[in-house]
Chain length 160, copies 2
Amino acid sequence: MTTYKNNAADEAAIRELISRWSTALEAKDVAGLTADYADHAVLYDAIPPYKTVGPAAIREIWSNCLPHFPESFTTEHRDLKIHVNGDVAFAFGLHRFIPDDPNHPCGNTWMRITVGYHKINGEWKVVHEHVSIPFNPLDNTAWHIKDAEKLDAPDWSQVY
Amino acid sequence: MTTYKNNAADEAAIRELISRWSTALEAKDVAGLTADYADHAVLYDAIPPYKTVGPAAIREIWSNCLPHFPESFTTEHRDLKIHVNGDVAFAFGLHRFIPDDPNHPCGNTWMRITVGYHKINGEWKVVHEHVSIPFNPLDNTAWHIKDAEKLDAPDWSQVY
């Protein structure tokens, strides 16, 4: 088993960025959501368009979708792994919304997230974010991750 | 505009890994596909399961799906961005299959890919890979990226 250890201060800096982002999201603070994004940040969001470039465009995405979130919700990360060294870092794991109303569709699935960081002029900035759920190629539908402990898949015997 | 420059040798090393992976894929060389993967590599694939951990399990995924690819195809990356410093790197961009038979479904979409690397015992290894296409929340279907130049989206006026 290969092992490695992040510098504790670097890892803490990345965790602080993630924590600030979550706080902004739960407060529906659109400016806060991109406060730590680089000018050239590239978002691959879970929904179209497939790519959005730059903090202003990313804020517009959030401005358009936040009204469709419930009035009050919390959020949660799990299985976060962080790799950081020098001025480059990335993190990945799962993220979900926990709406006060358990039937709100925003609570239907965990999302897989990968975030890339670059320390620019001494400050860590998000330069890339990739958010997704898988799709079922048998019927072309999105595949919700309801239970993060379950690594289930479609019945491939239909094709194999 | 913020700027930064990778060390040329580090960036070349990451590009070499990407190139070797493409060569293995086009040769359907399953062992080659994970030759540069760390023991604990975590794959978030475009299709379920949402997560696959370790080279052996990732090879099983490839072994199961490669028979459904056309006999002969090429592959292509575009818009690749690489960030590398010290022993951590990540790359992101688009990837697609170009089947000899243009009607084969594997050629239907670009995929968004993000790959995380860690230099372990002096060798760059893939520790994370995230592959996806977006989904349309209006009808829960996968959203194919047919034209990488087009940042199209569903008609949100149905909901906004």
